[in-house]
């Protein structure tokens, strides 16, 4: 009985996680400018990661694998947003302005100095 509940629960979590990852990917492709796309990337980095890893942890049960999964999740949650922050910071310092007025940054084809 418990097994069945765990199975269903991890099914739901994994599917939701897959959906989050996919939505983030589509957003990363479709959103108009760089700063908007960062938000989409953060969705896959955080929500998708958490849901998929918790789903797998439920499947693994109490074992070394669960511990490793937890460690991977923790490090991904620490390093992913840091890397995104570093990237946004670089872009801002190099002069890519987050301009709410213009929807697209296609004009800034060449990277700014």
């Amino acid at each position: 009985m418990i097994d069945l509940v765990l199975d269903i629960l991890s099914w739901i979590l994994l599917i939701l996680g897959g959906a989050c990852v996919l939505i983030g990917g589509i957003g990363g492709l479709r959103l108009p400018n760089f700063y908007a796309r960062i938000h989409a990337a953060s969705l896959t980095d955080t929500m998708g990661t958490i849901l998929i890893f918790v789903g797998m942890m439920l499947q693994a049960g109490l074992s070394l694998a669960t511990l490793k999964l937890f460690a991977i999740m923790l490090f991904l949650l620490l390093t992913g947003p840091t890397a995104t922050y570093a990237l946004a910071n670089t872009a801002l310092l190099s002069g890519l302005k987050p301009d709410a007025g213009s929807a697209s940054d296609e004009l800034e084809e060449d990277e700014p100095k």
Binding site: L69, A83, L87
Partner: protein
């Protein structure tokens, strides 16, 4: 077993989307962002495939990527910082 397959297909499609973004640009930062997304997706894919194979002892691989991935992006940040400094110095001269 089949739920792992569903999730890995979702991850694979996201990898394609990230690759398209990396190829299209338009700015270099978009490409770096795509590389970052690609990295985290690889971590997810490796963990899911480790379960699909039924050998969870191979999660070490995903752990290695989770730890090492940030270094590349921080190196990019330092690279841009150095370049900006070099440019400003050559303008001073």
């Amino acid at each position: 077993m089949s739920m792992y397959i569903v999730v890995s297909i979702a991850i694979l499609i996201t990898m394609v989307l990230a690759l398209v973004r990396a190829l299209m640009g338009p700015s270099v930062y978009d490409r770096v962002l795509a590389v970052n997304v690609f990295g985290t997706k690889t971590v997810l894919l490796l963990s899911v495939i480790a379960f699909l194979y039924g050998r969870p002892d191979f999660l070490d691989l995903a752990l290695a990527y989770a730890l090492v991935n940030m270094v590349g992006i921080l190196a990019v940040l330092e690279y841009f910082q150095n370049r900006a400094r070099k440019n400003s110095r050559s303008q001073d001269d």
